[in-house]
């Protein structure tokens, strides 16, 4: 499935909906969306990952990028990540800086 990013800004809550494969070749689009979210002064970033297939190391690094870009005060929630994706996030220890939420 082709990678796609949908960005929605709802007051101070920014939702990014991902679908397809997030890897080195597509991470740039995701980074751009994160940059827009940061620019919108979001207090919460919701990443909808239900339609996300494979997550490569570059994809995982994008979550670190999101954390840095958004700053400490912003809650980042990843919703509906598949079990392999959620497991990788937990094992790397990233679940301490973002919230993993079931769909």
């Amino acid at each position: 499935m082709a990678f796609d990013v949908q960005l929605r800004i709802d007051d101070k809550v920014v939702t990014i909906e991902l679908s397809g494969e997030l890897d080195a070749s597509t991470a740039g689009e995701f980074h751009q969306a994160i940059g827009e979210a940061a620019g919108a002064g979001a207090v919460e970033l919701v990443i909808r990952a239900e339609q996300l297939g494979h997550l490569s190391s570059a994809g995982l690094r994008s979550l670190v990028f999101a954390r840095q870009k958004m700053g400490d005060g912003v809650r980042i929630a990843v919703i509906g990540a598949s079990e392999p994706v959620a497991r990788t996030i937990r094992l790397a220890g990233f679940d301490h800086s973002i919230d993993l939420v079931d769909a």
């Binding site: 190391s57 570059a58 990788t88 094992l91 790397a92 301490h96």
Partner: protein
């Protein structure tokens, strides 16, 4: 005055073009690959190379996508440095190709046919999954990668627990949770160890010492099990491939290249639990071995700089493994120092234990130096200023420096003499009462003028019998290692308690349990820094194998089922660590003197025998009691109780006359290894205030404090 807009500033721009790549002369420091704005800076040192190229691979590709020769103007001194723009670090593997003379007698072993791994690589791919057979035809098996410095430490830093307050726990990242009984999400990984932090907390240790975690190749052992025919591994990992890179095969996220993050996450969480992390580091040799070994990195970059060579250009072998790192060469010193700084600054590591550290004070020709510059440099380095430095103060070529390793007021040592004395005394050898007293007092004979934390006391370590095997085997049983039982130490000072190996006899089993408790009790009440071997607290056995370096199986793995099976020993060990933490008198920084310097009426340490104040130092004696006066705790700065530890290694019971306490104080019973345990703070008062009957092969620990009337 207006502020210039820094976003518009250009830090560096390409000045050259090599093929499709835009490049410029790089910065010589730091060595290795460093992300810089717009690109990656590469820097490598080689004195003898005639040409140097940077080989760039797309991740996993069989052949390099490009090789960029460093233009002459990119070389400063003997450092080749180049910034390459427009690279995608996520998808990049890189190495170096160095051409130069192949003249072994002069020390040169350049091989332009090899792609060399960067000695400063922060990340290595190629061995991401433990034990998976690699492509043996790979032109570049250990591939350097670029690491992002984007980990969020959330305020963490090294803990700086005073050395004398440490209780060290030596363990193996994989072995700790690889056994299915661990029930962790990712067995055998950094993440798995992280899940077991609550266990470490409950055990009461405050420092984990990890067997090597620098990238190594677990498949570099050519041997097989002589019975099963199965492959044997390099399980322990004392054969470093890459010194700046965490072992990817220990990371559940290694296939994602996330091993650095996973390991940092482990360190951060361990710190949160109040536990330090010490790494076992191996700077005495490398995985390149001798003349027959693989050319991975150093050999092809500057063989004569990195290795000690004979006048004929052969490898000196003080490590017993084929080569010896030339640690006191200025370039190598710089390498070792940079490496340790990297682990402290980037990974928040609290200390290092140096494998075969005596090699670190040998000159390039192998002669031991009185003032080895490397050890001095590490001792005074600003970044390492509060880092624990622990030496295994001997090497494989007969240099034994326990007690005289050059310490610069900073180094501690694995105290091999402590291990041997306590083992021999507890097993019942005569003629050791005096030496046992010296060892329990922190070995002031060895470490005069140094603090008591100079001595890391231990009875067992990864190398040798486990505690359970120490009391179950007279001889090593290493047949499974494939060397006809010729490997491993022969002088184990072990005693099987009457039967070799597993025993159905209740008497034998009870004696073994008591002996394990005796050894642990002496260890946890001695002055110095105690170190436990993981699994000893639950009686882990290796079936008499005292050299399981190659055994990646149940023989080495921590069996979590033992927590229930040997719950009594675990409870006892936990109580001992809690007791040590509760009694600062056992953790005093300076050695006891046998004098009363605080006016308490008691010396800081006193020795007793069957009769109080009358230790029997005679050869035939097997009983010794030590009393520590709590008024002397931490030099008299904190209040503590009296602590009395009596050791009976005799096969008969003895009535111990107890030293009298100050008015209003009574002896309370903390533990008798014959089967009594009262957690620290709940000890009942002894019925008879002046006597204690100490069973055969037993140790008792009493606490002297104000009477509260409950009696045992």
């Amino acid at each position: 005055m207006s502020t210039p807009d820094i976003r518009e500033r250009i830090d560096a721009f390409p000045t050259h073009r090599i093929g499709p790549y835009r490049v410029r002369a790089g910065r010589p420091f730091p060595y290795g690959a460093t992300p810089v704005p717009g690109g990656v800076n590469f820097s490598v040192y080689s004195d003898g190379a005639t040409t140097m190229s940077l080989a760039l691979f797309e991740r996993g590709a069989a052949q390099p996508s490009a090789e960029l020769e460093f233009p002459p103007e990119f070389r400063i001194g003997s450092v080749y440095a180049m910034t390459v723009f427009g690279l995608d670090p996520e998808n990049l593997e890189y190495g170096f190709r160095a051409d130069g003379p192949f003249d072994p007698e002069r020390g040169d072993r350049f091989d332009a046919g090899k792609v060399l791994s960067d000695p400063y690589a922060r990340l290595i791919s190629g061995r991401e999954i433990w034990g998976r057979e690699p492509d043996r035809d790979d032109v570049y098996p250990y591939r350097a990668q670029v690491l992002n410095d984007d980990f969020d430490w959330a305020g963490d830093r090294p803990l700086r627990i005073p050395a004398e307050d440490l209780v060290i726990y030596e363990t193996h990242v994989r072995g700790f949770t690889r056994h299915p009984s661990s029930r962790v999400t990712a067995p055998g990984t950094y993440a798995g160890l992280r899940e077991k932090i609550p266990y470490l907390r409950e055990l009461g240790i405050n420092c984990v010492e990890l067997l090597p975690v620098f990238e190594f190749d677990e498949l570099d052992n050519p041997r097989t099990d002589p019975v099963s025919g199965e492959r044997l591994y390099n399980y322990w990992g004392y054969n470093t491939v890459s010194f700046f890179a965490p072992k990817a095969g220990y990371a559940a996220t290694g296939p994602f290249g996330m091993q650095a993050d996973e390991f940092k996450s482990l360190v951060k969480e361990v710190h949160k639990a109040g536990i330090e992390v010490v790494l076992d580091v191996v700077f005495n040799h490398t995985a390149e071995g001798n003349e027959q070994g693989p050319t991975i990195s150093f050999r092809g970059l500057d063989n004569a700089t990195y290795y000690m060579l004979t006048p004929r250009g052969e490898y000196y072998n003080f490590s017993g493994t084929g080569n010896t790192v030339n640690c006191n060469h200025p370039v190598v010193r710089d390498f070792v120092l940079s490496c340790l700084r990297h682990w402290v600054a980037e990974y928040h590591i609290d200390g290092f234990r140096f494998d075969l550290a005596a090699i670190l004070d040998r000159a390039p020709d192998g002669t031991p130096l009185p003032n080895p510059p490397l050890l001095e440099q590490l001792a005074y380095d600003p970044v390492l200023r509060h880092t624990k430095l622990i030496a295994e103060a001997w090497d494989a070529a007969g240099l034994y420096q326990v007690g005289n390793f050059p310490d610069y007021g900073r180094w501690s040592e694995w105290n091999g003499k402590y291990r041997d004395t306590v083992r021999r005394f507890v097993k019942g050898e005569p003629g050791l009462v005096g030496e046992l007293a010296t060892r329990m007092a922190g070995s002031p004979d060895l470490y005069q003028g140094r603090t008591s934390s100079a001595s890391v006391n231990f009875i067992t370590a990864h190398d040798g019998f486990t505690l359970a095997d120490l009391v179950s085997y007279n001889d090593k049983h290493n047949e499974a290692n494939g060397e006809n039982n010729n490997d491993g130490a022969d002088d184990n000072h072990s005693w099987n308690c009457g039967e070799e190996g597993p025993s159905a006899s209740r008497d034998v089993r009870e004696l073994r349990l008591r002996q394990m408790k005796n050894l642990l009790t002496i260890l946890l009440t001695s002055q110095g820094v105690p170190m436990l071997l993981a699994g000893d607290e639950v009686g882990r056995t290796q079936l008499g194998n005292n050299n399981t370096y190659c055994q990646d199986n149940e023989l080495s793995w921590f069996d979590w089922g033992l927590l229930a099976a040997n719950a009594d020993l675990l409870r006892f060990t936990r109580a001992l660590t809690a007791f040590r933490h509760a009694h600062p008198v056992l953790r005093t920084r300076d050695h006891p003197t046998g004098q009363d310097r605080v006016g308490s009426g008691y010396p800081d340490v006193s020795w007793h025998g069957v009769r109080a104040w009358a230790p029997d130092w005679a050869d035939h004696c097997r009983v010794l009691a030590m009393m520590r006066c709590g008024r002397h705790a931490k030099g008299g700065s904190v209040a503590d109780d009296h602590v009395y530890v009596a050791v009976n290694a005799h096969w008969e019971a003895h009535d111990m006359e107890l030293p009298a306490l100050p008015e209003g104080e009574r002896w309370h019973l903390f533990a008798d290894t014959g089967g009594i345990l009262h957690p620290a703070g709940t000890e009942p008062e002894l019925q008879h205030p002046g006597r204690y009957r100490l069973g055969a092969h037993s140790v008792v620990v009493l606490v002297g404090r104000a009477s509260h009337q409950t009696t045992a």
